[in-house]
Amino acid sequence: MHLPKLKKFLQFDTAGWIAGSSLLICAVSGILLAIPYDFTHAHQSVSDILLFNPAGSFVRNFHYWSAQLFFIFSVLHVYDHLSKSTETNIRDRRTWLNLCLVLIFLGYEMISGFILKGDAAGIQARRILASLLESVPFFGKLLSSAFSGVDGNYQMVYVQHIATGTILLFVAVYDHVKTIWPKRKSWIIVFLIILFFSLMFRAPLGQADSQQIKGPWFFVGIQEMLHLTSHPAYIIVLIFILLSLVFFLPRFRKNYSILTKRILMVAGILYLTMTLVALLFRGENWEWKSWKENQSSEEQLLIFDPVDLFSSDKPVIIPDNQKRESCLLCHSAMTGLSESHNPAVMGCVACHLGDAYATSKSKAHRNMILVPGNFTNVKQTCGTQNCHPDMSNRMQKSLMTSQSGIIAVDKFVFGETASLNDSFQVKNLGYSAADTHLRNLCAGCHLGMEKTKTGNAEWLERGGGCNACHLHYSDEATQSMKRMKAKNSANSPEIHPGIDIQVSNDRCLSCHSRSGRISLNYEGWNETAEGTTANNLAKTRVLPDERVLEFRQADVHHEKGMSCIDCHTSYDLMGDGKHHTHKEEAVGIQCVDCHNSGKVSSIAVSLLPDKESQMIAWLRKTNPKTKVVQTTKNHQALLNTHVDSLNRIFLTDKLTGKDHESKPPASACTKGKGHSRLSCGSCHTAWVPQCIGCHNSFEKETSGFDMLSGKPTRGTWIEFAGKSLAEPPVLGVNEATNQVVTAMPGMVMSIDHESFTNGKGKRFHRLYAPTSGHTTQRASRSCKSCHNDPLAIGFGRGELIYRIAGNTGSWTFVPRFALNPNDNLPEDAWTGFLKEAQTPNSTRNTLRPFSVAEQKRILEVGSCLNCHDEKSNEMDQALGNYQQTLARRSKKCVFVE
């Protein structure tokens, strides 16, 4: 019964008259909108309307929604006529031509209105319009200059929008129906509908520097078509063909007319489909984006934001030179951020998203990201094209994100991969024995871990993407955050945590206090067994996870005041964009870069090849002519150094500003060929943490923790570790560089596979790992500490005895630790005494312990050191030319067998 009435009520007039009513409202609201709108500062004036002028905002909404209604009902009006075949009613060819041409102006009015917003999408839309018009043969330039103007000047578009386009639309309406006045009832109903929309829904406005360029909803179909073709002129041709079809439609025979209409219908459906696809699934750079991501993007079609027409004028005015964002109406007094992230310049939305033009708190905070910089949001926040796209891309590939090396080695010892160099991503870990082992013991340290709370990260809250290193809460910022959380910050200063590149050592500590423990070593701390100290007199410290540290000896660079970031550039830390397998491939800095006796590798600041270094040099106001050290391995600039005309290197601490002059290596380092194969670390590393070995088994009934998912688990891998010692490193050979390098026990362990679900047997590994101890000393280790020390040569701890029998001597070794039944080597050995090592013996394919020949050569010098002091002339000569010195040896010398 009620349905026909409802239908009658809804169909209060024809689509044409609804469009006509909307056009009238649109024109009147346009005149009112011209009062606050300033085409010379288009975006600023529109954002000012939204932020400070509720009446202006209401008028803008009215203009926008009436235009949308006009457009939709104009299209429906055309469809109506074509479906009823009433197009033949218009006999006059000129009127029909005018109506066809006015369709173009209908599109022009809509797109010019979109352009006049002056946001990034509007700016680019003007350029596309200009380019399309220019592609029209013969008249292209005329059309373009008349209807799109030039870049950065909206005068032409504004004039054509308010004058030419509007007049032509009204002329067409009059030509068509001989009046412009709709029925009063229709007009009032249309007015009320537009009023409702205008009060409730805000007309969209994007940011002036947004990277997501999406045209108006009715033209995103054309944007998609443009994406699909390399020749935009085809779009003009297509529009021309479709308009020609419409123009000739009344003169076609009936069967051709039906066919044409079907073609138009199919084209319409295709266009609608493309529009929907583009609206829902296209994002930044016109790349595919999930519907959910698009939902939270800055520009929505329907923004529920009721206009508060009765609100008083806002007392806070944002200065002209500051970013136009509603956030600053409340948070303009926020301090704490450095100049490079000054909110007055870059606003808040660039990092935190939200709604930049909503004036109520709840609306402004909609879709806001509380903790920007996590990898789940980095593409929308720190990593947008306006900010740090390079770095966010590099970070995704860095070892600190993927943990590839750690995973490869762990899977290798579990027998789940045959290669130590396979690539892995920690986020893709499954639930195999090795994966579970990693989840229980290692997977907590990677940048992809989410930081979910504000405030300084707790000890076990590692990761957080960019925040892991760059977010710093001062005490004041922490207090401010607490006040905000407690909602009592009304009259207190708002202090934002700092975001900068002053990364202190403690940011590295929570992850790098494990495994090689380089952060601890650097500051001189060695981890003892949990909860105990071996030496009660030693200086000790307890970490938040209850591990006990004992002070041994700090790195000389630490003692001089240098921090981690003084040596390690962003390319070391955030990756260089390549997928590296192990850490020594990813790290570019070497001792020789600063401690060089030859010509220093350097580059002038003006010639820096990468944007990031250029930006930092610019921020630090470095003279473009200053020469800075360039690493020899990967040619990265050390921006905190400078090389003077005498080839001297000076380094400035990034955190303290203290200057240091870098010293060249001592003569002993470069003298003769005797030590030419030695890496600097071989002699200058004071100690590295060394364990004797560990046993790993899975305890099905013990409660554990999955570090990757952050959830407790039933059943966990347990590592039963042995002693942890701080002693000089073991030496071995890097076959890739043919250098003698430092090593430490890496995976000396037994694994009880049977304890894990479906596991079989037990496995033992004796794999040493390359290490950069980070316990560098100015003085090198003694000759005897290598040539006469079984630990350094790889035999393990014990006693090396040189026995003389007649004219020959011989070495014997008495190990301190018992032999491991798995390989009959002492528990702490890397290789057997005067035996070739079994493979695999290292966590790298290129690392190996000394061969028997090398062991003999080392011990041969060791036999000399039994009698000759290492500072004696004989040993000094031997360093210069060993064979010559050997030839001159006296008859008293007892040479090794």
């Binding site: 350029r127 200009a130 200059s145 390399s230 796209p389 010639l607 944007k611």
Partner: protein, 149 residues
């Protein structure tokens, strides 16, 4: 009737009032189009005459200046328009030496201006970039490279 009068009468028949107004309208339209033609491009030409000057110490790689960018490598300094050759959008920097059009997704190699990813198929327009020895400055004009005016 003289012969001359007959010719005039004949002409009067040829140029009717309707055709007179038609010709008049066409001439007026032609005049409007001609003036329009003279007016159009004034702003573009003014822009083309502009010179942009920069100090000699350009950093390596891309230096982006909105309407154009300058690329410096070990051997040369070249300038290109930042107008996408596909549909005219302004392209921006992406990662490394890649330039990105955020309207339709084209990418260009900054060093050569060649397209790396479609829909664009034409290289970016190289523009005049010369070194002014007297003032020690790089001078850029928005004129196509090699077409001095």
């Amino acid at each position: 009737m003289s012969r001359r009068m007959a010719v005039i009468m004949e002409k009067q028949k040829l140029i009717t009032r309707k055709s007179f107004f038609r010709i008049g309208t066409t001439l007026i339209c032609g005049l409007v189009v001609w003036i329009w033609h003279r007016l159009s491009g004034v702003q573009t030409e003014r822009e083309n005459r502009l010179e942009f000057r920069h100090g000699k110490d350009f950093p390596m790689g891309i230096s982006y200046f909105e309407k154009y960018y300058i690329f410096r490598n070990d051997h040369t300094v070249r300038a290109f328009l930042t107008k996408c050759t596909h549909a005219g959008c302004r392209i921006g920097t992406n990662t490394g030496t890649i330039l990105q059009c955020n309207c339709h997704g084209s990418q260009f190699d900054a060093e050569t201006g060649n397209p790396l990813k479609g829909p664009a198929i034409k290289p970016l327009q190289e523009i005049e970039c010369r070194f002014d020895q007297k003032k020690g400055q790089w001078v850029v004009r928005l004129q196509p490279f090699g077409k001095t005016t």
